[in-house]
């Protein structure tokens, strides 16, 4: 026993019977406070004057969790902002809302959803990079507008737009240029998605070699970083890349 008093042992019992907060899957935070508060009510020494402050913050916490529900702007506005048709937006929103009823995706959710498509490997790092790329205003959550804006660029944008978006994805610190370290992180995250069981087996130095060849191709002035102009220029010269960019035309 923790010896900290009976409220601890009560919460121990909650652990024993496995009561978890349904929303986040973690042991309940506000509920624990409510428990303590109820216990304190039992004791005659803690009069009602001690409780209101506790209860208010409790209530606020609970409300906070409950009322975070984002709604996107109207369909017409989204139609203007993105290049999707009305029907496409409807389909996208239905899928989005199904998986995230609260209207926003946080990083954990994002990783979870993305990992369902890659059952063998570990896609969490790459998903984080994606999340940061989608989260244009960097507020830690991706709402439907962000989501649709990103998709619009990738699926309906021009080749240059797409290349721009890819550069943005690679540029982890958003400083306008890709360093070897950033590229190495990206490369490792991509290789991680493959998992351990591959043929031929993954070698330790494969990502680094891949980065080297990438920089060889992209870095014109050999200054160790790839700027946006270098990137776009090199990609436009590469047949493979141009062709692969066209793959996204028919995704939706």
């Amino acid at each position: 026993m923790r010896g900290q008093g009976r409220k601890e042992s009560l919460s121990d019992s909650r652990d024993l019977d496995g009561s978890y907060d349904q929303l986040t899957g973690h042991p309940p935070g506000p509920a624990k406070k409510a428990l303590k508060q109820r216990f304190l009510q039992l004791l005659p020494c803690c009069g009602p004057q001690a409780l209101p402050s506790v209860s208010e913050s409790n209530v606020e916490d609970e409300f906070e969790l409950a009322t975070v529900c984002h709604r996107p702007e109207g369909l017409e506005q989204l139609q203007e902002q993105t290049k999707f048709t009305r029907k496409e937006l409807q389909v996208l929103y239905r899928g989005f809302k199904n998986e995230c009823p609260s209207g926003i995706v946080n990083e954990e959710n994002f990783k979870q959803i993305y990992s369902q498509f890659f059952p063998q490997g570990d896609s969490s790092t790459y998903a984080t990079f994606l999340f940061n790329a989608f989260d244009t205003n960097h507020d830690g959550s991706v709402d439907f507008e962000d989501f649709v804006a990103g998709l619009s660029v990738i699926l309906r944008g021009s080749i240059d737009d797409r290349l721009n978006w890819a550069f943005n994805l690679y540029d982890l610190n958003k400083d306008g240029c890709i360093t070897k370290e950033e590229m190495l992180d990206i490369m490792k995250s991509i290789y991680d998605m493959m998992g351990k069981y591959t043929y031929p087996a993954l070698r330790e130095e494969a990502p680094r070699e891949h980065v080297e060849s990438f920089f060889q191709k992209m870095d014109r002035n050999k200054d160790g970083v790839v700027t946006i102009e270098e990137f776009i220029e090199s990609c436009q010269k590469d047949e493979n890349i141009m062709r692969s960019m066209q793959l996204f035309d028919n995704v939706i």
Binding site: L155, R243, N250
Partner: protein, 655 residues
């Protein structure tokens, strides 16, 4: 991949843009979406309740009925919707599965109905979500047990004829209700167990004094009588044990079973006592052995279901009992120690040692409080009161668990007994339904022939002749008729109750066709000797298959196709019976077909002679005409309607 996430596939594919610039080799071609139709709403009409969903929702699970092209079989062109003639309640769960990816099991739903629906829609029950899976599994297990029970008792019933003597004996021992001998044996052994236990008890009662010595227990006073009683009981028990041992299917297992050990322990002391001499050294041990005689009372558990359940409960609650014991032991040790040290100071304290304090602690915790040991110091009294309070709590905790276990097992047993009792009624219902349907067939057959007759004669007797059979019934009957024609045999019914309601009357309209058939039937009937002929056995087999579970009493004539000659002698008996009793008996019929059946006429009845089917006549009179009239067979008539006379001939056949 969960269904809901399938909607995010476009996003995942778009996210692949991050790989393109770093790829060294060209990418494979993307699969073209040939049928690039817009997502459309599908209407699913389930028994009138309309459900609508997107086509893509259903296509998430392509290996189910709704997700594959199988649903096209249910597409209704006129209303442009998919119509399913199934339960809309369960369909709700099925559709939710497509929507959310989780299959739920509603608690109010019957488990077999639910399973049927799932099987229809091609969904495996294994994917029921965690939230409902336990409930589903529990219900499924209960159902399986019930079915297994039924199957077992069916097997028991059917396997009766083929049991050997040893098996019958074992069965008699285990289920005393199977035969009267078993019941007698059961009661006799029970009686002797009671006698033995009572003698053991009475033996020790002081029985008055013999002059000149002190008070004696009855056992020593009437030692001979008691010895004789004991001998008799032990002999009975020994015989019973040996018989059981002989009859047991697996002797080794029987020897190891609890009941047999109890038996052995109950009778051993006697034999050991016989063997042992009156040596003073061992007689002490001998006296101890007599204690084991009390185990005879456990033999009652064969006789009492409740005792067995109690024993089973205790066994299944072993862990709770263990916990109870352990916690009690812990508490006893703690409190005994405390009390010992608390009372150490007081003079002339009874708490001489910690083990001595155990007795006090136990007596206090179980709230007995004999009062032979009481604390005298204040500290001792305080701890003593804490001890008694905590005792109540510690004992009260595991007891409800044990009680609820006992209650659950007891109710389960009761349910099993109830099911067995209901089984009889259920089997009777099944039998009636089956005979009802075949009865309907036979009636309709006669009706059909009569209809032909009437049409030929032009008599508008529709209300009598015309049975309003549904199309399905008439087709079914036609099918059975074809089978009869194919095999040259015919069905028959021999249920006494149902066969009373047969048709009467209106035989005056019969024409020669009927007579011809009748003659044929006569001749074919007469072809059968009264003894069992080998050719009959096959017919027998046919009839038994169609109407299974016939009782052994075929003491009546079947209501189908009785040739006139046979009935002639019975007419007198029959006519009086039948005509009067037709109407009332009909109302008791369950099957509506039977109600109308009486309208059907019996084509094989000669006009002036027979009026009705006999049925209610018991076999003996029926057999006599059989033996009497044996006119030479005119021609071997078509074997179409082999009368169930066959059954009479073979008498108590397996019909």
């Amino acid at each position: 991949m969960a269904a809901g996430v399938a909607a995010w596939l476009p996003f995942a594919r778009a996210a692949a843009i991050g790989w393109m610039p770093v790829a060294n080799c060209p990418m494979p071609l993307a699969p073209a979406d040939k049928s690039k139709r817009q997502d459309e709403l599908i209407v699913l009409n389930v028994s009138g309740r309309r459900f609508e969903t997107w086509r893509t929702t259903l296509e998430r699970y392509p290996d189910t009925l709704l997700g594959s092209t199988e649903k096209e079989f249910f597409f209704n062109e006129d209303t442009k919707e998919y119509f399913f003639d199934r339960d809309p309640e369960v369909f709700r769960c099925v559709l939710n599965f497509y929507r959310t990816g989780k299959l739920h099991y509603p608690r109010y739903e019957c488990i077999s109905a639910y399973d049927d629906e799932l099987a229809f829609y091609g969904i495996l029950p294994e994917i029921i979500g965690d939230c409902c899976y336990e409930e589903y599994k529990d219900r499924k297990r209960e159902n399986a047990e019930r079915l297994q029970d039924d199957l077992d008792s069916e097997n028991n019933q059917e396997s009766m004829p083929s049991l050997s003597f040893r098996q019958t004996m074992w069965r008699a021992f285990e289920n005393p209700h199977t035969s009267t001998m078993a019941l007698v044996f059961y009661y006799v052994t029970g009686f002797f167990i009671a006698v033995s236990v009572i003698t053991n008890v009475v033996e020790t009662v002081p029985c008055g004094t013999v002059p000149g010595s002190k008070e004696l227990p009855c056992g020593e006073r009437y030692s001979v009588a008691f010895f004789c009683l004991d001998t008799a009981c032990v002999m009975i028990f020994t015989v019973e044990y040996l018989l059981r041992l002989f009859a047991a299917p697996s002797r080794y297992r029987f020897i190891r079973s609890v009941m047999s050990i109890i038996d052995v322990v109950a009778i051993m002391p006697y034999y050991i006592g016989l063997v042992m001499t009156n040596n003073e050294d061992v007689s002490g041990a001998f006296v101890t052995l007599r204690v084991f005689r009390v185990f005879r009372i456990f033999k009652f558990s064969r006789h009492s279901q409740g005792l067995r359940i109690l024993g089973y409960t205790l066994k299944s609650c072993a862990s709770e009992l263990g916990f109870l014991l352990f916690s009690l032991t812990m508490a006893i040790i703690i409190f005994a120690t405390v009390m010992f040290y608390a009372e150490k100071g007081s003079s002339a304290s009874k708490f001489t040692s910690i083990p001595a304090s155990f007795w006090y602690t136990i007596v206090t915790m179980t709230t007995l409080g004999y009062g032979d040991m009481v604390p005298k110091t204040i500290a001792g009294k305080i701890f003593g009161s804490i001890c008694s309070l905590s005792g109540v709590l510690v004992i009260a905790l595991p007891v409800p668990v044990i009680v609820s276990n006992f209650s659950r097992i007891y109710h389960q047993n009761q349910r099993a007994d109830k099911r067995r009792a209901q089984k009889k009624a259920r089997l009777a219902r099944i039998r009636v339904a089956k005979t009802g349907s075949s009865n309907a067939y036979l009636h309709s057959k006669r009706n059909g022939l009569l209809n032909e007759a009437l049409e030929l004669m032009g008599t508008p007797e529709e209300e009598h002749a015309g049975k309003t059979t549904s199309l399905i019934e008439s087709q079914h009957h036609h099918l059975l008729h074809c089978l009869e024609k194919t095999t040259g045999l015919s069905y028959l019914v021999d249920d006494p109750l149902l066969s009373v309601r047969t048709s009467t009357i209106k035989n005056h309209e019969f024409i020669d066709e009927q007579m011809y058939e009748q003659n044929c039937m006569e001749s074919s009937m007469q072809n059968y000797p009264s003894t069992r002929s080998p050719s009959l056995s096959s017919h027998q087999g046919l009839t038994t298959t169609c109407c299974s579970r016939r009782s052994k009493k075929t003491t009546h004539l079947p209501n189908s196709n009785l040739p006139a000659t046979r009935l002639r002698s019975m007419q007198e008996l029959s006519t009086i019976h039948i005509q009067g009793s037709e109407q009332p008996s009909l109302t008791t019929s369950r099957s509506s077909l039977n109600l109308k059946a009486d309208d059907g006429l019996r084509p094989n009845c000669k006009t002036s002679q027979i009026t009705t089917a006999i049925i209610s006549i018991p076999t003996p009179p029926a057999l006599t005409p059989e033996g009497e009239s044996r006119p030479p067979p005119t021609s071997p008539g078509p074997n179409t309607n082999i009368p169930a006379i066959a059954s009479n001939v073979v008498k108590v056949s397996a019909l």
